[in-house]
Symmetry: C2
Subunit: 303 residues, 2 copies
C-alpha cells in the first residue's frame, strides 16, 4: 500500500498476478469496500488500511466522521483481530485529540517494523537449504510490508541461507498461487505452487523441513485462526514430525480470548454454498509462535 495525503493506494490483490493495478481510495467507504471485496487482504494489511480509512474520514469530516468510520470499517470482515486492534488505536487517537493521520502512518510504519522484528526472531528457525511449506499469503501483500511468515523467510535469506518455498495453492481464493508465488518470484525466491491436496503427501516424503504460516487471530492459549486449510497442514506436519510455525505481530493475539473456540469464523459464498474462510489450529500442533517480541513455545500463555 502507499499513502498520499488524502489518498490510500492499494495494489489490487484480486487482479494479481495478471495485472498490477493500484486502486485509489479517497474516502472511508472506498477503503471499507476494498477490504470487503478483498482488494486488500491479510490481517495486518487490513488493520493498516482501516487505520488509513479513519484518517481519510478525519481529513474529510473531522472527528465526528472519523468516529462514524470506526463502525463502518469494523463491519467489513470478522475474523482478523488486527482490524479491531487498529480501529481501537485510532479511537484512542481521536479520544486524545491526536493527529489521526499521523497515528495511521505510525500504525503502518510500526507494522513494517514489527514484520522486520518477526523476521529477525524467526530466521534462526530456518536451516540453510531448507524447503519450507507455506499456506495462503502472509507476505508483504498481507502486511504493511515485508510480511510475517514470508518475512521470516526473507530474513533467513538475508542472513545468507538458501530457502526453497512450496506454496499451497490455497483454494478457493488462490492466495498462494496468485500472491505468494508472485511476491516471492519478484524477490528471486525459488518457489513452487503445489495443490493443497498434495501437502500431506509431500510432508510424508521428507522433502519439507518446516512449515510456516501467518495468523488472523490467536487466543491466549496459542490456538491460531488462519486461512482455511491451515489446520489440515498442521495435522499433517504433526503426523510427520515437521515443525509447524505461526508468525504474526502481537496485535494478532486476542487477549480477550482464552481459547480459539470463541474466534468468529467468516463464511464466504462459493459454488452455490458457503465455506468457512478460516480454521483454527489448536496450540498443541504449533511448534512455536514467532512475534516481534520473540519466539514463544508451548505451553502458550500469551499476554
Amino acid at each position: 500500500m502507499r499513502w498520499d495525503p488524502g489518498c490510500l493506494w492499494l495494489l489490487d490483490q484480486l487482479r494479481l498476478p495478471r495485472e498490477e493495478i493500484w486502486v485509489p481510495c479517497r474516502d472511508e467507504q472506498a477503503v471499507a469496500e476494498a477490504i470487503r471485496t478483498m482488494q486488500v487482504r491479510g490481517a495486518p494489511a487490513i488493520g493498516c488500511a482501516a487505520a488509513f480509512g479513519v484518517a481519510l474520514a478525519w481529513r474529510a469530516g473531522g472527528a465526528a466522521r472519523a468516529r462514524a468510520s470506526l463502525e463502518l470499517l469494523a463491519g467489513t470482515r470478522p475474523t482478523a483481530v488486527n482490524l479491531f486492534w487498529a480501529l481501537a488505536e485510532m479511537r484512542r487517537a481521536l479520544d486524545a485529540g491526536d493527529d489521526v493521520e499521523a497515528r495511521a502512518l505510525a500504525i503502518w510504519r510500526d507494522d513494517i517494523d514489527r514484520c522486520l522484528a518477526i523476521g529477525r526472531h524467526g530466521a534462526a528457525l530456518v536451516g540453510d537449504g531448507a524447503t519450507v511449506l507455506t499456506h495462503c499469503n502472509a507476505g508483504a501483500l498481507a502486511t504493511g510490508g515485508y510480511g510475517t511468515a514470508l518475512g521470516v523467510l526473507r530474513a533467513a535469506r538475508e542472513a545468507g541461507k538458501s530457502v526453497r518455498v512450496l506454496a499451497d495453492e490455497t483454494r478457493p481464493f488462490d492466495q498462494g498461487a496468485r500472491l505468494t508465488a508472485w511476491e516471492l518470484q519478484r524477490d528471486g525466491f525459488d518457489v513452487e505452487v503445489i495443490p493443497d491436496n498434495a501437502a500431506a503427501w509431500i510432508l510424508k516424503s521428507g522433502r519439507v523441513q518446516l512449515a510456516i504460516v501467518g495468523a488472523d487471530r490467536i487466543s491466549k492459549n496459542g490456538d491460531a485462526a488462519n486461512k482455511i486449510g491451515t489446520y489440515g497442514v498442521a495435522l499433517a506436519c504433526h503426523e510427520h514430525g515437521v515443525p509447524f510455525y505461526v508468525a504474526a505481530p502481537f496485535s494478532t493475539i486476542d487477549l480477550d480470548l482464552a481459547s480459539g473456540d470463541a474466534i468468529p469464523i467468516e463464511e464466504r459464498p462459493w459454488e452455490g454454498g458457503r465455506y468457512p474462510a478460516f480454521d483454527v489450529t489448536p496450540a498443541r500442533l504449533i511448534t512455536a509462535i514467532v512475534t516481534e517480541r520473540g519466539v514463544f513455545r508451548p505451553p502458550y500463555d500469551l499476554r
Copy 2:
C-alpha cells in the same frame, strides 16, 4: 460408456459438467488417447475402456493387432492397477482363442455387477440421515456404471436412507466439483461441493458421519492409493474419529504388492511444475475396505 460393435462411446469427462459430449473411439489409438488425456478416468472405467480398446484392435486386425494393443494401452497411465488387470484378462482371452469382444463386454458388465455388490455390502455402513464426505469421483463415471464409493451411497439411498454428500472439489483436476456433483445431482442427491481445504475443519465440526472414497490400487496389507488429497482426508478422519472407508472392486487389489510403498505414483504437469496425482493412505487409517466379496477390516490380509 457405451459399446457399439466397432465403436466405444465415452462421455467426455474433460468437458463435464458444461457439455455432455460423447466421444467415439473407433480404434485402440483413440481409446489410448482418451485414457491418456483423461476423457475417461477412474480406475475401473479405465480398465473397461482398455478392454474395449483391445476388442477394437481385434476387430480391425485380428489377434496380432490385439496383442500389440496390449502394450499401447498399458503405457497410458501407471497407478490404477485395474488397467493392467483388464489387459491381463484380455491377453488370456487372446491366448485361449476366445471371442475377444465378448470378453471385453463381460469385463464391463461384471464391473457394473461388482459395483452393485459393493453397494449391497457397503450400504449397512451408512446410517439414515448421514452426511458423507467423499474425495474425487468414485461414481458411475469412474466405473462401468453405478460406482464404487458412490455406489455405496446409491445403495444406501435405495435402501430408504437419507444421505447428504459433501464432495471435495478435488484440485487440481476438480473431479469432485465437476463430476461427483454432476452425477449425484442428476440422481437427486443432496450434494454440496466444498474446498478441499475445508475438509479437516468440517470433520472437526462433527457434521460428517463417515468418509468414503474409491481406490486406484490397494496392496495386500490394505494400503490404498487414491487421488491426491485422500491421505490428508484420512488423517483428519482419524484425528476426529470419523470412519474412513475405501470402496473398490477386488481387481483393485494388487496381490503382488505387500505394501503401498511400491505403488507407482503418476505425476502430472501443473502450474509449471509437476504434482503427484495420487497418494497412498496407510491401512491403519482405513476403517474398512468394501469390495464385491464383502467388507474387510484390519488387520488386512487381502488375497
